[in-house]
C-alpha cells in the first residue's frame, strides 16, 4: 500500500492510502483534500493541480505537455509536477507532496 501525504500551504498534513491506477489529483479529490482544483479533470491542460513532490522514489519524468503547463507557473520549482500526471502504481513507494498557496 502506498501512503500519500499532502502538505497544505499552512503546513497541515493529511495522509491517505493510494489506490493503484488513480492519480494523485484523483486521490486528493476522493479524500476531499483541499488545495487541488483540477479544472480540466486530469488532461494536463489546465495546470490547476500543481504540486511539489517532496519525497518519492523515482517517478516517470513529465511528458512534453506537462512540462509545457508547468512552464507557465510563476511559482514553478525543480520538484513541480501536475498531480493529475502522477499515477499510483503497484508497489510504489510512499510519496509526499506539498501544495502551493493557490492554484491558478
Amino acid at each position: 500500500m502506498t501512503v500519500i501525504t499532502f502538505i497544505q500551504h499552512d503546513g497541515s498534513e493529511r495522509m491517505v492510502d493510494g489506490d493503484v491506477g488513480l492519480s494523485l489529483m484523483e486521490t486528493a479529490l476522493k479524500h476531499d483534500v483541499p488545495g487541488i482544483d483540477a479544472d480540466c479533470g486530469g488532461g494536463a491542460i489546465c495546470g490547476t493541480c500543481h504540486c511539489f513532490v517532496e519525497v518519492s522514489d523515482d517517478l516517470p519524468a513529465p511528458d512534453s505537455q506537462e512540462t509545457a503547463m508547468l512552464g507557465l507557473r510563476p511559482d514553478r520549482a525543480d520538484n513541480s509536477r501536475l498531480a493529475c500526471q502522477i499515477m499510483v502504481s503497484d508497489g510504489m513507494a510512499d510519496i509526499t507532496v506539498r501544495l502551493p498557496e493557490f492554484q491558478m
Binding site: G41, G43, E101, Q103
Partner: protein, 419 residues
C-alpha cells in the same frame, strides 16, 4: 428571435456541407447556431470554408479535436493572430495570447501575478462594494435594461477598480475594449473601421502611459494592476516598450470586459429559462460557484480562437496545408454530447462542471479565469440575497459579432425581498 424582414435562418440540415457558412455573425445575433455546429460535429467535424469575409478557414467543432490542437502548439501556432482576421502590419501590439513558446510563457509568467488569487482577495471587498451599489440602485418593479444597468455598468466599474482608472473617465475603458473587438469584417458591417480603431488605441496607450508615470514612485500605498506591474522585477520597466505595455493592458481590458459582461447577462437568461435551477440555487447558495462555471459554459462568451498551421498536417482524415487558418469552436465543443452530458441543459449541479472549453485549454488557457469567476460569484451572492424575483420581461437582443457571444439588451424586472 425577432429577425428583420428579408432574413431567415439558413437551412443547415438541407444544404451541402461545402455550402455551410461558419463565418456569419448573425448566427449568434439571432441565436440559430446550434443546428450548424450540431451538423458539423456529426458529419464534418473538420470543415473547410473556401470563401468568407475573413478568407478561407478550417473549423474544428468536436471537444476532443479542439483539445488535441490546443496541446500541439508547435503545429498550431497562435501567431500571427488568434482572430480570424490577420492584424494590420501598422499596428501589431505585442500580446502573449498571440505568441508561441517560449516567448508566450515568459510574458505570461511575468504578468500572471496581477491576477493571482492572493491579489484577488485584496480586490474582493472593493468589487463587492461596487456590486452592492449597482444592485441597490436598480429600479423596483419596473422593466429596465440589465445589460446597461448591471452587466455593462458593473464590468466597467470593476475594470476601473482593477486599474484604479480615473473614475469619471471609466467609460473609456469599455469603449476601447468594444472597439478593439469590433472590426467591420467580423460584425457584418456593424463595427468600426481600422483607422478609427487605431486612433482610439493610440489614445488608450497615451492615457495608460500617463497613469504609469504618475504612479511610478509616488510612494502611495495602493493596489492596482498598474502598480502590480511596477512592483515586479519582471515588469517594472514595461512602459519603455510601448507595444508590449499596450498589448498587456489591452489583453487585460478586453479579456475581462465583454466576457464577464456577457456572462452576467447570460446568467439571468438561463435562470429564467430553467426556473428549476433558479429554485435550487436559492435553496442552496453553496451552489453558486458551480452555477458560475455552468453559466460560463452555457454562454461561451468567446466562441472561438484561431490557430495557424506551421506544417502540413492530417487531422481526423482531413489534410490541412501549412499556413492555413484553423478555427477552434469552443462554443461547439461545449455542446458536444460526446463529452458533455445533456449539453443543452443548463444544469448547475453538473458533474465536473469546471470541465468546459469557455476558457480554452493548454498553455493559453484564460489567465483571468479566477478573476472572472470571482466577479460572477459576487454578483450572484449579492443578487440572490436582495431579489426575490429576477424576471426577463422581453426578448433579449444579442451581439452581432463572430468573436463575441453576448447581449446588447435584456429587459428585466426585479422584486426585492420585503424585510
Amino acid at each position: 428571435m425577432n429577425m428583420p424582414m428579408g432574413t431567415s435562418v439558413p437551412d443547415y440540415r438541407g444544404m451541402s456541407l461545402e455550402d455551410l457558412d461558419v463565418s456569419d455573425p448573425r448566427m449568434f445575433q439571432y441565436d440559430y447556431w446550434h443546428e450548424l455546429f450540431a451538423r458539423l460535429r456529426e458529419e464534418c467535424p473538420i470543415h473547410y470554408q473556401p470563401d468568407s469575409p475573413a478568407g478561407p478557414f478550417w473549423s474544428v467543432t468536436r471537444y476532443e479535436d479542439i483539445v488535441a490542437i490546443e496541446r500541439d502548439t508547435e503545429t498550431f501556432s497562435s501567431e500571427p493572430s488568434i482572430a480570424i482576421i490577420d492584424p494590420e502590419p501598422d499596428m501589431i501590439l505585442k500580446m502573449f495570447i498571440a505568441m508561441d513558446p517560449p516567448e508566450h510563457d515568459d510574458q505570461r509568467r511575468a504578468v500572471h501575478h496581477v491576477v493571482a488569487p492572493r491579489n484577488l482577495q485584496e480586490f474582493e471587498a472593493l468589487i463587492r462594494e461596487r456590486t452592492i451599489e449597482v444592485l441597490d440602485s436598480l429600479p423596483e418593479d419596473e422593466p429596465f435594461d440589465w445589460v446597461k444597468l448591471v452587466s455593462r455598468d458593473l464590468t466597467t466599474k470593476m475594470l476601473a477598480t482593477l486599474f484604479d482608472f480615473p473614475w469619471e473617465e471609466r467609460n473609456k475603458l469599455t469603449k476601447w475594449s468594444d472597439m478593439f473587438t469590433s472590426d467591420v469584417r467580423i460584425t457584418a458591417g456593424e463595427g468600426y473601421a481600422r483607422e478609427v480603431i487605431i486612433e482610439h488605441i493610440t489614445a488608450c496607450l497615451q492615457r495608460f502611459t500617463e497613469l504609469w508615470h504618475e504612479r511610478k514612485g509616488d510612494g502611495k500605498e495602493a493596489f492596482d494592476l498598474i502598480r502590480l506591474l511596477q512592483a515586479d522585477p519582471n515588469t517594472e520597466n514595461m512602459v519603455d516598450d510601448p507595444l508590449t505595455y499596450m498589448g498587456n493592458i489591452m489583453l487585460l481590458i478586453v479579456g475581462g470586459n465583454d466576457t464577464t459582461r456577457n456572462s452576467m447577462s447570460g446568467g439571468v437568461v438561463f435562470l429564467n429559462q430553467f426556473p428549476g435551477e433558479m429554485a435550487k440555487v436559492r435553496q442552496n447558495p453553496d451552489l453558486i460557484p458551480s452555477m458560475v462555471s455552468e453559466i460560463i459554459r452555457y454562454q461561451t462568451p468567446l466562441p472561438h480562437m484561431r490557430r495557424t498551421t506551421t506544417r502540413d498536417v492530417e487531422l481526423n482524415g482531413r489534410k490541412i496545408a501549412k499556413g492555413e487558418k484553423v478555427v477552434l469552436w469552443f462554443v461547439s465543443g461545449n455542446y458536444d454530447d460526446a463529452v458533455i452530458e445533456r449539453p443543452n441543459d443548463f444544469w448547475i449541479e453538473r458533474p465536473s462542471v469546471r470541465n468546459h472549453l469557455s476558457f480554452g485549454a493548454g498553455i493559453h488557457r484564460c489567465m483571468g479565469n479566477r478573476l472572472a469567476e470571482m466577479q460572477l460569484r459576487i454578483l450572484w451572492e449579492e443578487a440572490l440575497q436582495r431579489f426575490e424575483t429576477i424576471e426577463v420581461v422581453g426578448e433579449p437582443k444579442r451581439t452581432c459579432n463572430l468573436f463575441i457571444r453576448g447581449f446588447t439588451e435584456l429587459p428585466v424586472k426585479v422584486g426585492r425581498f420585503q424585510s
